[in-house]
Amino acid sequence: MNKLKRLTETKYFMTVLWIVIIIALWEIFAFIVAATKRTPENILPHLTGIMESVMSDRTINGGQTAIQMVMENAAATLSRAGIGYVVGIVCGFVLALLMSLWKPIEKIAFPYLMLIQMIPILGMAPIINALTGDIAVSRVAIAAILTFYPVATNTLAGFKAVQREKHELMYSYAANKFQIYTKTMIPACIPYFFTGLKISAPMAITASILVDTLQGGIGLGCLLSQALKGAMTRYVFWQIVFFSAIIGILSFSVMGLLEYILCPYKRTSKKEKE
């Protein structure tokens, strides 16, 4: 009994409880749907059914099982999202650096960085596809644009948040600009930089999947629209939905973990607070 009580007090217990509640709700509705609808797997299949389709070794086309197909397409989509993500990070960081180094650049670019946040880039996906002419390039480009501005604005905020005393200290050491940046500014902006990374990781993946749906070929988005049209078993669709949800959440937490590893100084300050 005591053990049970201690278990309920742990940090993750409530999250797990919520997940259990959601699964229970899903299953209840799945039973209702199964009883009333003609094609229940189109609307709300049992979670066990989805798991079964993941495990099954029945081939659905050209000698691939459902999960093999999803994984092959996912690898294509994720690698493109990854390239775009890295390109966006580099561009965003460099722009933030230039903006902090040279005031006129900040003045020119900052209003446009604000403006680009209000523009629905994903809505522009079809036109970027037409502009670049090559679907592979446009996938990378859109993922990069979506990654670019959260990284740039957050990193710039990080550069600006460096305390005045630190600048004065470096000045009294007669440090040059390069030293100031490598020793104080860049380490100080890393937590802000990671905030940008965390915001943009799920966005880059969404972008990559969405661009896939525009044109045929290989990729999670293509498979998703094919499965929606009924070209193959509906469970492929459900596998993609769950897979992309898990990947979206994972990408966010991987960035959090990376921050935890790379910023030990942030870790200790958190402990002190508690």
Binding site: I43, I127, I240, S244
Partner: protein, 267 residues
């Protein structure tokens, strides 16, 4: 002297971006952008042509804008209210509620492309009219998207109070309702605006993307896509410009509202 310097400073911060924007527009109009992107004026039409198309098709564009803006506003309002209620719930029972907030924020990381078709499936029975059921589905997707940022920010606003203010309320023997109305709610207002700054652009994007998957063909996002499919690039560009304008106008309205509500606070 310092005042003069300040004037120069604020003048350049307006002038530089303005000049930059005009240069880009000129390059676009004169075809320099076309040679950079290696395309023709068919795929990337001149700004004057896009503008003319907007004027010519004003009625049809307005119809689609109405459809999109309706989804955005209703979804944004519903999501923000639900998010705020969730935050209140998490404040009332911190233990159970915090886990719930974690789950809600996990929803935020689910790609819209995965969520939109699922919601479309679930709302098939809402109405026999394709327009109504598509609109309901789109509103639900936008609602889910807005809920996360509001619930997390509002929870912070309701709980990160000034030191000792809660003790003061207790010493006045204030009941929970009074604590909420006099202390927690006013404290959360700036946080509400922080949340809205994330969810206003987010809801525009979500609405446009969920239109792609909707049964009924309506909305600015859907029109961009349909026009590209039939190779009407200039019309698609007209809708893109309109979509950008929706995003910018909604954000400007939000900033104006923030200015009015937080005016007293600043002074």
């Amino acid at each position: 002297m310092t005042k003069r310097k300040l004037n120069f400073d604020s003048a350049t911060s307006l002038l530089y971006p303005l000049i930059f924007g005009i240069v880009i527009l000129m390059m676009w109009q004169c075809g320099v952008l076309h040679s950079i992107f290696r395309t023709d004026e068919y795929i990337l039409p001149y700004p004057t042509r896009i503008f003319r198309i907007i004027i010519e098709n004003f009625d049809k564009i307005l119809e689609n804008v109405n459809s999109s803006v309706f989804v955005i506003i209703i979804g944004l309002a519903a999501g923000s209210v639900l998010g705020y209620i969730a935050a209140i719930g998490a404040t009332v029972s911190p233990k159970f509620g915090k886990g719930g907030l974690t789950v809600i924020s996990a929803f935020n990381a689910i790609p819209i492309v995965a969520m939109a078709p699922v919601i479309m499936n679930w709302t098939k029975d809402v109405s026999s009219d394709a327009e109504v059921r598509s609109t309901v589905a789109k509103i639900i997707v936008v609602t889910l998207m807005c809920m996360a940022s509001m619930s997390i920010n509002a929870h912070r606003g309701l709980n990160e109070l000034k030191p000792f203010s809660l003790d003061l309320m207790k010493s006045y023997a204030a009941d929970n309702k009074t604590v909420f109305l006099k202390l927690r709610f006013p404290n959360s207002i700036p946080y509400i605006f922080t949340a809205l700054k994330v969810s206003v652009p987010g809801s525009v994007i979500t609405a446009l993307v969920s239109e792609y998957f909707a049964e009924y063909r309506a909305g600015v996002g859907r029109q961009i896509r349909e026009n590209i499919l039939i190779a009407q690039y200039s019309t698609a560009w007209a809708y893109i410009v309109v979509a950008c304008l929706i995003g910018i106008i909604l954000f400007a309205l939000l900033l104006a509202a923030e200015g009015i509500f937080l005016k007293r606070r600043k002074s």
